[in-house]
C-alpha cells in the first residue's frame, strides 16, 4: 500500500501485537491461552506486515530459509524434550518422573516442562501461518506484476 497513514500506524502497532503474543505463550500454564493462540497472534502480525509493506520487503524479514529453521526446530525441540524423559526414567514425555523442577503452582517458573513445550509450539505455529500465506501469494509475481502494491 502507498498510504502514509497506514504505513506509519502499522509500524507503531506491530511491536505491541508481538509483545502480547509472547505474553500469552509464556503464561500458558497460568492464564487461558497457550502455545497455539499465542503463535497465531505472532503469525498474524507478520501477515499484517506483508500486506502493508509488500511481498519483497517481507521476504527479507522472513525468508524461506528462516521458515525451514523454525519449522524443523519446533519439532526437534519437542521430540528432544521427550527423549530427555526417555533417558532419565523409562517413559517418553513425562513431567514429574524425569526430574523437571515443578516449583510453586501459580508462579511464572512452574510447571516443569510445560512452558518449554509452549514456546516450541508457538514458534512452529507462527512460522506455519506466515509460510502458508507467502506460498499462496507468491504465484502472482512475475515481471509484469511486481508484488502486492
Amino acid at each position: 500500500m502507498e498510504d502514509r497513514i497506514v504505513k506509519s500506524i502499522t509500524r507503531m502497532v506491530i511491536p505491541f501485537i508481538q509483545l502480547y503474543g509472547v505474553f500469552i505463550i509464556l503464561h500458558g500454564h497460568i492464564t487461558p491461552g497457550g502455545g497455539f493462540s499465542g503463535g497465531t497472534l505472532i503469525g498474524t502480525s507478520l501477515i499484517l506486515y506483508t500486506l502493508v509493506f509488500g511481498l519483497p520487503t517481507a521476504k527479507k524479514k522472513f525468508s524461506h530459509r528462516m521458515s525451514q529453521i523454525a519449522e524443523s526446530g519446533g519439532i526437534i525441540v519437542y521430540v528432544g524434550i521427550g527423549l530427555v524423559g526417555l533417558f532419565i526414567s523409562g517413559q517418553f514425555l513425562t513431567n514429574i518422573n524425569a526430574g523437571f523442577p515443578l516449583g510453586e503452582p501459580g508462579e511464572l517458573l512452574s510447571g516443569g516442562m510445560i512452558p518449554l513445550l509452549m514456546i516450541a509450539i508457538g514458534i512452529k505455529v507462527a512460522s506455519t501461518m506466515v509460510s502458508l500465506f507467502h506460498l499462496l501469494i507468491e504465484g502472482d509475481l512475475d515481471e509484469d506484476h511486481p508484488g502486492i502494491r
Partner: protein, 97 residues
C-alpha cells in the same frame, strides 16, 4: 422445481436433527454423561502432579502430550504439501528457458 425439492429436503433434515437433540439426555449440568471419573481425576490431581494452575494446559502438554506431538506433525505436513503443489512453477520456467 429441483430447487424447491432441495429446500424441502433440508427442512425435513433440520426437523429430524432437532428432534434428536430434544431426545438427548440431561446436558449442561454435573449429571451429564460426559462429566465422568476421568474429568474428576484431572481436576483433582492436576496441580499436584503437574504444577500448573491451568487445567487445560496441563491436559494438553502433560497428560495428553502425545496428541499434541501429532498436531505439530500435521501442521508440518500441511506446509510441505502446499509447498510441493505451489513451488514447481519456477522450476518449469527454468527448464524451458
Amino acid at each position: 422445481m429441483k430447487k424447491h425439492l432441495l429446500n424441502v429436503l433440508f427442512l425435513i433434515l433440520f426437523g429430524i436433527l432437532v428432534y434428536s437433540i430434544i431426545e438427548m439426555p440431561t446436558m449442561q449440568t454435573v449429571d451429564a454423561p460426559s462429566y465422568n471419573e476421568v474429568t474428576e481425576y484431572y481436576i483433582e490431581n492436576a496441580v499436584n502432579e503437574t504444577g500448573s494452575v491451568n487445567f487445560i494446559s496441563a491436559i494438553l502438554a502433560d497428560y495428553r502430550g502425545f496428541d499434541t506431538l501429532g498436531e505439530t506433525i500435521v501442521l508440518f505436513t500441511s506446509v510441505i504439501a502446499v509447498a510441493s503443489v505451489l513451488r514447481t512453477v519456477k522450476k518449469k520456467e527454468e527448464e524451458e528457458a
